[in-house]
């Protein structure tokens, strides 16, 4: 410090001694102050320059009155404080609220019995946890219409879910109607929020978990397994049918083939026999007496050797006991 002071003094001395600048100390001081004030004023005005980031929109007010309801991303200028004020919000950012539990529940798998209990049309109690996602559709409305937009969203969506649940049977809610409930709730809650002018666009309502209360969960599970059982039994029967019918068709085919074969055999045999007979008959016609005798004798030759024969005289008597004795003793077929 002590080293700089003399230098300053010398500088001042030099300035004062310069001839081009006349000595007007008061005026130059005044000038310096003016410059300083001017700079301050400039700075003050420049403080009105502001940037809206790409995911943001801003609302500009002058003394509390909205003058620019939707300022898009970019570089902008507003009158400096305290005249104007700029509020930026992230419009693209999805906000998330959970109905029937706390946001952590979906991660931890915990459930809050009382908070999530809904009454169904057939007066069953079920536990529902829904996740709602929404974003800002109108920054002005979002900022100035309600004290707590998220609370408004939660209430509107919850009321609609309650209403959808209240006229559906529990089975439908647990199985087929989930999507319908989500869609109807989304549309209806959006209408409600539009009526409130909340400046909010709902993006999804997702029924994250729908479950029977613990007190009856076992019975609900049993219904599910009964449904599976039912399908299984039917499938087994289907399997039985699928096994049975092809076999039956095969059997039928077999019968038909056999019949066709039988027919063919029969006719062919008949034709063969007939042809043989006709040929023999033709020869027979030429020498019927002799042929008849020959055939007779040939037959006798074939027949008689294997049978027991008793030749009796024309007038001879026969003791029939021989036959019985012969039967019981040794005369058996060779």
């Amino acid at each position: 410090m002590s080293s700089t002071l003399p230098r300053l003094d010398t500088l001042r001395i030099i300035r004062k001694s310069e001839p081009s600048e006349p000595a007007m100390p008061a005026d130059s001081r005044w000038n310096g102050r003016r410059r300083f004030a001017l700079a301050l004023a400039l700075l003050w005005i420049l403080s009105g320059v502001y940037i809206v980031l790409p995911d943001q929109q801003a609302v500009e007010t002058i003394f509390g009155k909205v003058v620019a309801p939707r300022v898009l991303p970019g570089l902008h200028f507003a009158l400096p404080w305290p005249i104007a004020s700029v509020t930026r919000i992230k419009v693209r950012q999805m906000q998330r609220i959970v109905i029937g539990g706390s946001p952590a529940d979906s991660i931890t798998g915990r459930s809050q019995p009382l908070a999530s209990q809904f009454l169904t049309g057939d007066q069953n109690l079920i536990h529902v946890r829904a996740v709602v996602q929404f974003s800002v559709s109108s920054p002005v409305d979002y900022l100035y219409r309600s004290q707590d937009p998220a609370q408004l969203v939660g209430a509107a969506v919850e009321a609609e879910i309650t209403r959808r649940m209240a006229h559906r049977p529990v089975d439908a809610i647990l199985t087929t109607e989930k999507t319908a409930i989500q869609n109807e709730t989304l549309a209806a809650a959006q209408r409600t929020l539009d009526v409130y002018g909340a400046g909010i666009a709902l993006s999804t309502v997702n029924l994250e978990s729908i479950a029977a209360p613990a007190e009856a969960a076992e019975a609900f599970r049993d219904v599910a397994s009964a449904r599976a059982d039912s399908a299984r039994i039917a499938n087994e029967a289907e399997g039985y049918a699928n096994d049975l019918l092809p076999k039956a068709r095969g059997q039928a085919r077999q019968l038909l083939e056999e019949a066709a074969a039988y027919r063919e055999t029969k006719t062919n045999e008949a034709r063969g026999d007939a042809a043989r007979f006709e040929q023999v008959a033709a020869e027979y016609a030429r020498a019927s007496q002799v042929t008849a005798r020959r055939l007779y004798l040939e037959t006798m030759e074939q027949v008689l050797p294997r049978i027991r024969k008793l030749i009796v005289d024309q007038n001879g008597n026969l003791d029939l006991t021989i036959i019985r004795k012969g039967d019981s003793t040794g005369l058996k077929p060779q």
């Binding site: 002058i62 039956a248 023999v280 027949v303 030749i311």
Partner: protein, 295 residues
């Protein structure tokens, strides 16, 4: 002299600033401002922006935004004497700050008043409705919209008149049954589920039986149809062969008779047969009587 002038100027500026500060006041979009004169409300400023008042007047700010009030769930009795627990939400805002500040004062007090109004109107309204109109599987019957619209309207009317509060909406946020009824509800749910489970299983059984029976029937049909056709084919074969034999044999019936008779002998006479042959028979004649027996 110059110093004094400066002081006066400074003081003037300060006084002016004070006056400006006391005269002008900004009003935000979210607010109503009640201008009071020594505590007596004179006028309400509803337009946002810079407003002016006399310096001796003072201002009271009120949040005019929508608020959500969630009364505690309470139990109501429907016309058909059933208990139901209803949780509402009420969307309200301050509409008339003058009246609000005089009759109510602060939001907590306002909510208490609202609770009373809504509770009494709702219990009166539910006294004329059956539980079916709140919960029921008959979608056409369940119509809470009208009831709530009416409720909102009547609540709004009396709230604005009495307290300077606008009730924008009253809705049923949650329906439930009283705690003491729940055990029996769970029991009923279990019984219902058991019935449904039995029904599912029986239906599966039914389906399976019908599938099996149908398959069995089809099998019988297929086989009997095949039998019919097979027998027809065989019959045709038999007929054909009969015709062929007939045609052939009828050309020489005598010979056929002889041949067939001889053929039969071969089959009829087996080794169990005992033939008693007369020595005078055609075959043995020669044996017994000598060669001359044959003519």
């Amino acid at each position: 002299m110059e110093h004094r002038r400066r002081y006066i100027a400074g003081a003037g500026i300060a006084v002016l600033a004070c006056l400006i500060g006391l005269t002008f006041f900004p009003v935000r979009e979210t607010e109503f401002v009640l201008v009071t004169e020594f505590g007596r409300p004179v006028r309400t400023v509803t337009s946002a922006g810079l407003n002016a008042k006399w310096p001796y007047q003072s201002t009271l700010y009120f949040d005019r935004r929508l608020r959500v009030y969630n009364p505690r769930p309470s139990e109501f009795l429907t016309r058909d004497k059933k208990n139901v627990v209803i949780e509402n939400y009420v969307v309200w805002k301050i509409a008339n700050p003058d009246r609000f500040v005089q009759r109510v004062g602060d939001p907590t007090a306002a909510e208490m008043r609202l609770h009373d109004i809504i509770w009494s109107s709702l219990s009166a309204a539910l006294g004329t409705h059956d539980l079916d109109s709140l919960v029921g599987t008959d979608a056409a019957k369940v119509e809470t919209g009208g009831l709530l619209d009416q409720l909102t309207e009547s609540t709004d009317r009396s709230a604005i008149e009495q307290y300077g509060i606008a009730v924008v909406d009253v809705r049923i946020k949650r329906l439930n049954l009283p705690e003491q009824n729940k055990q029996s509800v769970y029991a009923r749910m279990r019984a219902e589920r058991e019935r449904i489970a039995r029904q599912y299983r029986a239906e599966g059984e039914e389906q399976a039986l019908s599938i099996r029976a149908d398959a069995d029937r089809q099998k019988e049909e297929i086989l009997s149809a095949a039998y019919k056709e097979a027998e027809t084919i065989k019959g045709r074969g038999d007929a054909d062969s009969t015709r062929i034999y007939g045609q052939a044999y009828s050309k020489n019936p005598g010979f056929y008779k002889l041949l067939r008779t001889l053929e039969s002998y071969k089959k009829i006479l087996d080794d169990k047969t005992t033939a008693i042959i007369n020595s005078d028979s055609e075959l043995l004649k020669v044996l017994t009587r000598g060669e001359g027996a044959i003519k």
